[in-house]
Amino acid sequence: MTALLAALGRLVLAALASVGRVALFALDAIGHMLRPPFYAREFGHAVMQIGWFSLPVVAMTAIFTGGALALQIYAGGSRFNAGAVVPQIVAIGMARELGPVLGGLMVAARVSSSIAAEIGTMKVTEQIDALVTLSTNPMKYLTVPRLLAATLTVPVLVAAGDSIGIMGGWLVGVTRLDFNSASYLKNTVDFLEFWDVGSGLVKGAVFGFIVALMGCYHGMNSARGAQGVGAATKAAVVSSSVLILAANYLLTEVFFSA
């Protein structure tokens, strides 16, 4: 019994310690963000890798989700003669929740894994040490550009995902559910308020930060060898996904609880 308690205690302590380490890492990164030098080329590269090349997967996710959402809302709404609310609910569902969360999760899968694998490989092949000996701070050169790029581009991805998801709903609404095209779009536009979309974009920025932070943190702390990099990659994807869902709940509480 005491052994069990001790094991549990150790687990809790280890968890707290790693939360502390991540927080220190994040503060360190933000500190470096505010001080020169700034590596513009690395930043540009990260914007392409994180933002531009994630667009296809975010678009695919959004269009299928929007379509399925339309079908489900119609089916559910019809049970109490409210099938007509499809455009409004698809729009609010995409903008407030599904756009940012699904976009964030797809970016987590795609980007935090590749960041962790890349930086982890650099760590185990002594490239990080080499950076230091060449008078270049790895936090500034590797972490800051990725953190900034993810925080700035994921909201843009979310905006694209919102629009594409709403289009998916509209396509299904018009072709499968006999909605009038013009009035579907008018209902969507009239109904959406600025904060429905804005809150989703803020979530996107937070999720982008989480994704890059977890990728960089686990990469920089990768253990030695191929196994170390594999473990770092896995940890980056799992932790960023869980943190995104947890942060989403907290942000929703803050933004929308009465």
């Binding site: 490239q127 080499a130 060449l134």
Partner: protein, 248 residues
């Protein structure tokens, strides 16, 4: 001058350095020999501050290495890593010119490239490799690119971690000559790790043998053959029999 005294470093239960005392006078070419896994690479990393020693002191020109201004300190060093440690997202010439394209030593791109091509030539690589990526090179070529990067900014102190491992005998000769030249002509201080006794004789002015976490023997290279130390004798003659166990 670099001075180490009582340097200890352990990784968990693995006690790697257990009280290293060593002095590297300015302008000397110190070669570190010792079996693999004895902590030679760790020793270099301790001096550079890439690995924090558990205890002991390391000074450069009389000042503790941790108290130097970090950027100015590192600007005096060049380091060739054991695995070359090239940045695989950058072209060969961008690797070599890395230090010349950012920070205090920043030069125009064309000038940095010209210096890189010249340094590549000195390590026996033609200009056609400049635009390749490190992944397209053989291990020995990567090693030489790493060497070119280490000397690109003409450092005062250069560390070479196994510069000739994986090279053919002719290339080893070229690299040995280069290291010798850097020390004699540029007056740099060098610390080289090698297992290759012909390299030791070609480049060393002083030799130190690391074994069991301490410096077993150190002295001028001319005295190496005459030392009665059985560890040094076993190592330089490559004998399986002797005080150094062959299973480690």
């Amino acid at each position: 001058m670099i001075e180490l005294s009582g340097v200890h470093k352990a990784f968990g239960a693995n006690k790697v350095l257990q009280g290293v005392d060593l002095t590297i006078p300015r302008g000397e070419s110190m070669v570190i020999i010792g079996g693999s896994g004895t902590g030679k690479s760790v020793l270099l990393k301790c001096i550079l501050g890439l690995v924090q020693p558990d205890s002991g002191t390391i000074t450069l020109d009389g000042t503790d290495v941790s108290r130097h201004d970090r950027d100015a300190f590192l600007a005096r060093f060049g380091m060739l890593f054991q695995g070359a440690a090239l940045f695989d997202s950058l072209k060969v010439w961008e690797n070599v010119a890395f230090r010349l394209m950012r920070g205090a030593l920043k030069r125009p791109r064309a000038e940095a490239r010209a210096i890189a091509v010249e340094k590549l030539r000195r390590v026996g690589l033609g200009p056609q490799v400049a635009d390749l990526f490190p992944g397209e090179l053989s291990g020995g070529m990567q090693k030489r690119v790493g060497l070119a990067r280490a000397i690109a900014a003409d450092p005062q102190i250069i560390f070479f971690d196994e510069p000739t491992t994986g090279l053919d005998p002719i290339m080893s000769g070229v690299i040995n000559d280069l290291i010798h030249e850097i020390v004699t002509e540029m007056g740099a201080t060098a610390m080289t790790i090698t297992h290759d006794m012909s390299s030791v004789r070609a480049i060393a002015t002083r030799v130190a043998m690391l074994h069991g976490g301490v410096v077993r023997w150190t002295g001028p290279v001319a005295e190496m053959d005459a030392t009665p130390d059985p560890y040094v004798q076993q190592f330089i003659h490559g004998r399986a029999e002797g005080p150094i166990p062959s299973v480690r």
